[in-house]
């Protein structure tokens, strides 16, 4: 690690102010950022800790539009517990991230800001059609994810809350990469009264994406059979030690089918 200052604001306003300092970076659960700092792969001069901001924590169920609203600094463990009744598929996603230590520190805001191409939350947010709320604006999930480790966030912008429309039924099917236990490929299928959204993580070099063919097929026939025959091109997918693009493309089909089967 290189040396840095730490700011620990208690409000979003103060956090935004602190972020104006030169080379400032937000620190949330630190489950991604701290290892990066230890490996000396990042050198922020100020870390603005978000973990003391109470207004960014917790799961709120009384949104006027019926959405489940999760503070940006809410840990995976809290989502696992507090969303279990309202949005079980999302709670189950949170429950399967990393191990207990990771879940007790890591946060939804950190995960969405980082947008790892194999992360879980981006799939949950995109499939749910969530709204990512920042200190400055609201961003629809469809606009927010812009490729591997890339989002619509501007310099210094902080994810303060995420608002999830709650689908009629949903399921997250995750196939583990054997070493990291991040998804090798995972599918989040969310069935709404007006349509179906399918988000895939782990597979694409462009990060999380919606599988529109599957969405169209499921909209007219919500059954595992409807997606059983679909295939997706793997030639541009991630190709690494743990699987080729072709294998990942195949898993996209299997994970989607299984997610649908679990809820239909």
């Amino acid at each position: 690690m290189y040396n840095f200052d730490v700011e620990k604001p208690a409000t979003i306003v103060d956090a935004v102010q602190a972020m104006t300092r030169e080379e400032a970076q937000p620190l949330s659960g630190g489950q991604t950022l701290i290892p990066t700092l230890k490996a000396r792969l990042a050198a922020p001069s100020v870390l603005v800790s978000l973990s003391g901001i109470d207004e960014m924590k917790g799961v709120c169920k009384d949104d006027a539009a019926g959405r489940l609203c999760i503070g940006g600094a809410t840990t995976h463990a809290d989502v696992m517990r507090e969303a279990a009744d309202h949005y079980p598929a999302l709670a189950s996603l949170a429950a399967r991230i990393g191990d207990p230590a990771v879940r007790n520190r890591g946060t939804i805001g950190g995960s969405l800001a980082n947008n790892d191409p194999s992360a879980c939350y981006p799939a949950g947010a995109l499939a749910s059609g969530a709204t990512i709320v920042t200190n400055a604006r609201e961003i629809a999930a469809d606009e927010y994810f812009q490729g591997m480790f890339t989002t619509a966030l501007e310099e210094g912008e902080i994810v303060t809350e995420v608002k999830f429309p709650v689908p009629e039924a949903a399921h997250y099917e995750k196939f583990l990469q054997p070493a990291s236990r991040f998804p090798l490929v995972a599918a989040f299928v969310a069935k709404f009264s007006d349509g179906v959204r399918v988000a895939i993580t782990g597979a694409s070099n462009d990060g999380v994406f919606r599988w529109s063919e599957a969405e169209a097929a499921l909209a007219s026939n919500f059954s595992a059979d409807a997606v059983g025959g679909l295939s997706i091109d793997g030639s541009d997918m991630i190709n690494d030690l743990h699987g080729t693009g072709a294998y990942r493309a195949h898993l996209v089909g299997v994970m989607t089918k299984r997610a649908v089967a679990a809820i239909s």
């Binding site: 690690m1 000396r40 196939f175 070493a179 030690l241 743990h242 080729t244």
Partner: protein, 787 residues
């Protein structure tokens, strides 16, 4: 009936109290007043010429004590290799210089180029970033078969090629073997890879060098399985420090698995720098450094063929192996693919003719050396995969084919130079068949199929050579060391004992099981016996722990020393009891005169030895302390039969292990619980190799699996509840305890049955896949099943 103490009792591991309550004393727990920290600047390219290493700016950085580069070690010896293999033409192997810090060239990612000693680790690291290093990159040599082609880039310019040796065994048999293949009714051949592994002990390597200016004494605290070996290699060959001026201490060590046998540059560096800087110097490996600097294991590419007659008797076996040495020869690297591998190729079978060829190859990768099993897992994997493949080609039952070819008479001299003293392969296979519930398999398969899964069953046998090793024999084979073991038994005046053993415990539980043996021999409580190990100033010259040798060789030395103690104690007792020495009996910690009720307690005798008021001083010396060195007359040959049952998800290729049974013959057993634990650990590593672990390099020599994000370690949830049995016991015939050793069996015996089971599952789904390489990852299974 379980005994409640002594040999055969499942005594609880006394060392676990300190390990589990945070009271252990590991090398990283050692901090010496005034200590400085070292950070190694390591190469991030696999192969290149060092054109410039400029430390001028770095030396001015805050906290820097001194910066070292290869030049500082010009007068220092090469990190030595402990074994010299002679090739099939009678030539000795090619042996490159292995510098402490890179000297002119870098040869693998992770090779240390410079070392910064500073007040704090962070300062050392900051300064290391200010060192200017210019490397003219050279093509990386990664693939072994390409490495030995004409005109290949050379890893070492001063060697004739990248071939370390081309070993033929037994060379005189080659003609007869080839003839047997011509005469065969059936030949099965198989090409396979034994995947490269990273040992990953829980505790990373650590070295702390200390130097006492007053008396010129060096001390090295290090994570080693064999501190005396380090003292000898480093003192005599690298730094030129006489052994009486060098103490090596290996305190609690958190796992070794072979990778902490070897002498590493960092140890020599810290010892050297402590004197140069006149400061204690400490290095603790990060996990990332461990991946690129701990010796790796396995990495063989093999073609193996079996010849059979028309009745399915094995008539000949022939193998052709490329063994990766990495960039330099690690301490025992040359012995692993040769004498620890070729000599095991007979396995459990009476194949009369065997020829083994091994080409050891230098590449731009981390050095490869012994890892749990070392050579024997590679032999077992080839042979047991091949026998399985043969059975399927012939359409016969794999177990029946094995049974038909079992060695049944002992002693048995194999065609590969070793003589098995004892064993009963039929008994372990009988036991295994019972444990594995073969009769119930059909039902279990149907249940899996009802869930859309495939189910497979696989078996294998194994034999290993442990109790390493007879010194005169290994001397002829190229070992540059003796492989005896030592023990000093020191009895205190009040009757307690301290055993100073040359074996080293790094998780095995010696402090418990060794104490059981001595307590049993004397008939006293185990808690009266303390086991001391791991310090060259305390214990006699010992060769350490690896190759499942501790109880068979170290335990035997301890028995011999205890026998001497008992013999002397009987003399003292005979004096105290005014009886003839030959009439004295020792039982339950008391000496008595046969046929009388006269007796003295153990404590009376020990007190007399140290307070010799009434004592035969004219005949014997006071005191009660004896040392023995034990050199085994043969290896020991544990053996067994393992069965694995897997479920396979045909849609994803995911394999899960549903049942695993292990029937082992370890000869006599000191502590059954500890033996079971050793088998469990070995199985976890064997199954890890078979299903998950893979150390991979790309064609530029970059390490792809350089962290736990990509190197898949097995976790508890990846493993089944094992069914382990060691009731089949044919005691070793040539050591005093009749023991064979159990540390490596699980890792040696398990990979083939896992792969055999996966192939069986695939066959049951209509996929006639002849072979699949380890690790059998979901991606590979899926690819194998989908063309």
């Amino acid at each position: 009936m379980p005994k409640d103490g002594g040999i055969g009792a499942s005594s609880k591991r006394r060392e676990d109290v300190r390990f589990l309550t945070g009271a252990g004393n590991y090398t990283d727990d050692i901090n010496i007043r005034g200590q400085a920290h070292v950070f190694f600047l390591r190469s991030d390219v696999a192969h290149g010429t060092l054109s410039n290493v400029d430390v001028t700016a770095a030396a001015e950085m805050p906290g820097v004590v001194q910066i070292f580069t290869g030049e500082d070690f010009a007068e220092v010896g090469s990190i030595p290799c402990g074994w010299q293999v002679t090739d099939k033409h009678g030539e000795v192997m090619q042996e490159p210089r292995h510098p402490v810090l890179a000297d002119g060239k870098v040869r693998h990612v992770g090779e240390p180029i410079a070392a910064v000693v500073a007040e704090t680790l962070e300062q050392a690291r900051d300064a290391a970033e200010a060192i200017v290093v210019d490397i003219d990159e050279l093509p990386a040599v990664v693939n072994m078969k390409d490495a030995v082609k004409e005109g290949a880039t050379k890893v070492h310019d001063d060697l004739t090629s990248n071939l370390c040796y081309d070993w033929g065994f037994v060379e005189e048999n080659k003609g007869a073997v080839d003839q047997a293949f011509k005469d065969a009714a059936h030949v099965t051949s198989l090409e396979l890879v034994n995947n490269r592994l990273v040992a990953n002990p829980m505790e990373p390597r650590v070295a702390v060098g200390d130097y006492a200016r007053g008396d010129g004494q060096h001390t090295l605290y290090t994570t080693s399985q064999n501190p005396h070996v380090i003292r000898l290699l480093m003192g005599a060959f690298v730094l030129g420090i006489p052994e009486h001026k060098l103490r090596v201490v290996a305190p609690d060590v958190g796992g070794g698995f072979g990778t902490k046998i070897f002498h590493y540059q960092e140890e020599a560096f810290c010892t050297f720098a402590a004197k140069a800087c006149n400061r204690p110097v400490k290095w603790t490996s990060s996990r990332s450094e461990a991946f690129m600097s701990d010796a790796h294991g396995r990495d063989h590419v093999t073609k193996i063929e079996l010849a059979l007659d028309k009745d399915h008797n094995f008539t000949a076996l022939r193998t052709d192996t490329y063994a990766n040495m990495g960039a330099y020869l690690s301490t025992f690297a040359p012995s692993v693919p040769t004498w620890l591998h070729g000599t095991l190729m007979a396995g459990n079978y009476k194949t009369p003719l065997i020829y083994v060829n091994v080409k050891a190859v230098f590449t731009n990768t981390v050095p490869v050396d012994a890892y749990r099993g070392a050579g024997r897992p590679e032999a077992t994997y080839q042979l047991e995969r091949l026998v399985d493949k043969t059975a399927h080609e012939l359409g016969v039952d794999p177990i029946a084919l094995r049974r038909q070819n079992f060695i049944t008479e002992f002693p048995y001299a194999t065609p590969v130079a070793v003589e098995y003293d004892t064993g009963d392969y039929v008994a372990t296979m009988d036991k295994l068949e019972e444990m594995a519930d073969i009769a119930g398999f059909k039902k279990r398969r149907e249940a899996s199929e009802a869930k859309g899964k495939l189910r497979g069953f696989g078996v294998n046998c194994y034999i290993e050579a442990c109790g390493i090793a007879p010194s005169n024999l290994v001397g002829q084979l190229g070992a540059r060391a003796g492989l005896y073991e030592s023990a000093t038994v020191r009895v205190n005046a009040t009757g307690g004992l301290v055993v100073m053993t040359g074996s080293h415990s790094h998780g095995q539980g010696h402090e418990t099981s060794f104490a059981q043996v001595v307590a049993d021999m004397i008939g006293i409580d185990e808690n009266m016996v303390e086991i001391v190990h791991g310090d060259t100033d305390k214990v006699p010259m010992g060769m350490g722990t690896y190759g499942s040798r501790s109880i068979a060789v170290g335990g035997s030395a301890m028995v011999r020393a205890t026998e001497k103690i008992i013999a002397k104690a009987k003399k003292i007792a005979s004096h105290l009891l005014e009886a003839s020495e030959t009439d004295i009996e020792l039982k339950d910690g008391a000496f008595s005169v046969a046929g009388t009720d006269k007796s003295v307690a153990w404590g009376d005798v020990t007190l007399a030895a140290y307070v010799p008021h009434n004592y035969p001083l004219e005949d014997i010396e006071p005191g009660l302390e004896e040392t023995a060195f034990y050199d085994p007359s043969n290896f020991t040959y544990p053996s067994g039969a393992y069965a694995c049952e897997v479920e396979l998800d045909p849609e994803t290729g995911q394999v899960t292990i549903e049942r695993f049974s292990a029937a082992d013959d370890f000869g006599n057993i000191i502590n059954p619980m500890i033996v079971t634990g050793q088998v469990h650990g070995g199985l976890a590593q064997g199954i890890g190799q078979a299903l998950m672990e893979n150390c991979a390099y790309d064609s530029d020599g970059q390490l792809l699996s350089a962290s736990y994000m990509d190197y898949a370690m097995p976790r508890a949830s990846d493993l089944p509840f094992y069914d382990v049995d060691h009731s089949c016991q044919t005691p070793c015939t040539h050591n005093p305890l009749g023991v064979k050793g159990c540390g490596e069996a699980g890792a040696i015996g398990s990979p083939p049955s896992v792969v055999n089971a996966v192939l069986d599952a695939m066959r049951s789904g209509g996929h006639d896949v002849a072979h699949i390489d380890m690790p059998v990852s979901p991606a590979r299974v899926w690819a194998a099943m989908n063309g």
